[in-house]
């Protein structure tokens, strides 16, 4: 079977057609100047009070059937998750093998069978473990108050399947990582890009998987989790 390569002559012709359509003889090679970029100025410049991001995050996620528990330390966070696992009658959980999550959550005390997302296990097995698990537990890189969103960065020990395949997703975060708007996360990501590549996937997750495709009836848990709950550690 022949390998399909990128066709550079086709690419040049394509871009040339676009340039011609715009009245240019050759493809524009320099960054064009612009007047306005990003969100409107008032949005970028707005100020938030200290408690606002957390309060917004909680009310927005709860409005989407989410639960938000605010705890003071790792022991409380562990207890909270243990309680929720019991409520859900969960038998197994899969966790990101994330340093922060390890630091705060004592997985031996959760009372369920646990597995960690890391390279000790093969891809195939990990995906199957996540598929079978009752709960997936992740560490949130940034949360967004204005929409009740968590942003998860994909990485070696932080696979996408953990927040996606189990019927319940529990996201754990530091209170200090809750920012007011998406702009802040975007800026941080851009700074990161200056230092190197972006993660292969950034997932902004807001509440459970949902659809209104059947008679405009809201239905929860189509492909992703039925429940998206959050533990905020305020230490």
């Amino acid at each position: 079977m022949t390998d399909i390569q990128e066709d550079l002559s086709q690419e040049n012709m394509f871009l040339q057609t676009v340039a011609n359509a715009l009245g240019r003889k050759t493809v524009l090679a320099e960054l064009p100047e612009r007047q306005e970029a990003g969100p409107p100025a008032f949005w970028r410049e707005q100020k938030f009070e200290e408690d606002q991001p957390l309060a917004l995050f909680k009310s927005n996620l709860e409005a989407l059937t989410g639960r938000v528990a605010i705890v003071r330390n790792g022991a409380e966070a562990t207890n909270q998750i243990k309680l929720w696992l019991k409520v859900l009658n969960a038998k197994s959980a899969i966790l990101w093998d994330h340093a922060k999550l390890r630091e705060y959550i004592d997985s031996t005390r959760l009372g369920v069978k646990t597995a960690f997302w890391n390279r000790d296990t093969s891809r195939r097995e990990l995906i199957e473990l996540a598929e079978q698990a009752d709960v997936g537990i992740t560490w949130v890189n940034y949360a967004i108050g204005y929409t009740g969103t968590v942003a998860l960065f994909n990485g070696e020990n932080s696979g996408r399947s953990v927040s996606l395949l189990p019927p319940t997703h529990i996201a754990v975060m530091n209170r200090s990582d809750i920012v007011p708007t998406m702009s802040t996360v975007m800026r941080i990501l851009l700074e990161r890009r200056g230092q190197g590549a972006l993660p292969s996937a950034i997932d902004f997750i807001t509440g459970p998987s949902r659809t209104s495709d059947i008679e405009m009836d809201l239905s929860i848990g189509v492909h992703g989790p039925f429940r998206m709950w959050a533990v905020v550690i305020d230490d």
Partner: protein, 470 residues
């Protein structure tokens, strides 16, 4: 978009008007969606400022599309992805089929994508012996029914849960209850299995970010996440204008898209994909391909009168406020893209002012679409211009041509005009009821069936004026 309906717009609309169940469903959907949108627009401070910002971002991108396409390509490659260009639907189909064959794909999952509908991708892949499964719940329903989307955001809105239960029961081999949670559960089970075993995931693209080489996918169900996290190969297909320059621009368009579409602040999932998985990553694809499609878009780009049509962010807000869409639903348009925006871009993409040139007549020119558009596309102006374009190209109905020919003949001179009005006043007598012409005259039926045609006055204005002067 080579598939062309047999019936003309007028007959497609007439057929749709008889489908009371569909019309009721459409009314319910558009009322809900546009009501939610209005609420969301009130909730976000300075809505008009956001709209203007969106317009500026889209206009800047489209006006410099050559630069941003080249930049996007460069950055996707930096992230380890491959980029391909297709000038026509046929080229795109062939390319994607070859890619799938190269990876010896047998099972393909797709997440919702209008551009793959536009290029009729599924039938090409099936003809090459592959199983293609739509994973968006509505698209899955339509695939089972062998139907096409009737709304850009809620594609299966014309089907009720009893019809859906029937389709699912057929797949299941036993009865699936016609209630929404049971139907959703059933689809989850069947499709989860498809995701786990898919060789290739095919997605559309809501927005690509040129400066970072990212692809952004927006869903509520999570099917785009599954399509990109599990298969080893991901192929993303995008119309060439679906770009924003920077990450920060993304916040603006992502604020407007869900609010305008469903009234949500944000969809459940916004996934930003940056090429294939990186060394060390465990899930995500090994191979990432982006296929950029022109298929008539460069023609729209070249025509400054219509270029703004490429600013569209595919939210469907114009569908939900359109009094014509409300009455006839999506299928009557006969095209992949329906509603006001579809009526603008279809004749242009197809380069066909005769058959597809009828679509701009599926509008009352009330401008509700223009006011609803989050990118401020002057839709009703474009619809009006397209009608004009069609008429000046000489593609007018014989009846219409005859009528306006007569008009010209009689209205040119005061003497003939006077004669015509007198003749009308006398000639209409048998047709008038309560001051309106209501009889079904063959030649006027298209007018009188849907509107009241006031009768000409007994005495003409000129006669009355003359009398007054005396």
């Amino acid at each position: 978009m080579s598939d062309r309906p047999v019936l003309h717009l007028r007959d497609r609309a007439a057929k749709a008007l008889k489908d009371e169940q569909m019309r009721q469903a459409v009314r319910k959907a558009v009322d809900r969606l546009s009501g939610n949108k209005d609420k969301a627009a009130r909730e976000l401070p300075n809505w008009e400022e956001w709209r203007e910002q969106t317009r500026l971002i889209r206009e800047h991108t489209v006006d410099h599309l050559d630069y941003y396409l080249a930049l996007l390509t460069q950055n996707i490659r930096k992230a380890g992805g491959k980029v391909h260009f297709a000038s026509t639907a046929g080229e795109a189909r062939q390319l994607i089929a070859k890619l799938c064959q190269q990876y010896e794909a047998k099972h393909i999952v797709k997440s919702k994508s209008m551009v793959t509908e536009e290029i009729h991708l599924n039938s090409a892949l099936e003809a090459a012996g592959m199983e293609v499964v739509e994973s968006d719940l509505a698209e899955y329903i339509l695939q089972l029914a062998g139907e096409t989307p009737s709304h850009i955001i809620v594609p299966a809105i014309h089907k009720n849960r009893y019809q859906i239960a029937e389709l699912f029961s057929r797949v299941n081999g036993e009865k699936v209850e016609p209630d929404t949670p049971a139907l959703t559960r059933f689809a989850r089970k069947v499709l989860r299995d498809k995701f786990m075993n898919a060789d290739v995931g095919i997605t559309g693209c809501n927005f690509a970010v040129a400066e970072t080489g990212s692809i952004t996918l927006v869903t509520n169900e999570g099917n785009a996440r599954l399509s990109t996290a599990l298969p080893k190969v991901v192929i993303t297909v995008m119309g060439m204008e679906r770009i924003v320059p920077t990450f920060e621009d993304l916040e603006t368009v992502l604020s407007m898209l869900p609010r305008s579409a469903t009234g949500q602040k944000v969809t459940s999932y916004v996934s930003v994909i940056n090429g294939p998985r990186q060394p060390g990553d465990i899930d995500g694809c090994e191979q990432f391909h982006l296929v950029i499609v022109d298929n008539g878009r460069s023609r729209i780009l070249a025509d400054e009168e219509y270029r703004a049509a490429l600013h569209c962010i595919r939210c469907g807000a114009c569908f939900n406020v359109c009094p014509v869409y409300r009455q006839i639903g999506g299928h009557a348009y006969g095209s992949v893209y329906g509603g006001p925006i579809g009526s603008v871009i279809t004749p242009l993409l197809e380069n066909d002012m005769v058959f597809w040139g009828e679509l701009p007549y599926a509008s009352t020119l009330c401008a509700a679409c223009t006011f609803a558009c989050p990118a401020k596309i002057p839709l009703q102006e474009l619809l009006f211009n397209l009608r004009q374009k069609r008429v000046s190209a000489g593609h007018t109905d014989a009846v219409e041509k005859f009528a306006f020919g007569m008009w010209k003949r009689f209205f040119k001179l005061p003497s003939t005009y006077k004669f015509a009005m007198k003749a009308a006043s006398l000639g209409q007598k048998p047709l008038v009821k309560n001051g309106y012409i209501t009889a079904a005259l063959p030649i006027l039926a298209n007018w009188t069936n849907s509107r009241y045609l006031p009768a000409a006055a007994d005495k003409t204005f000129r006669d009355r004026w003359k009398k007054r002067e005396k």
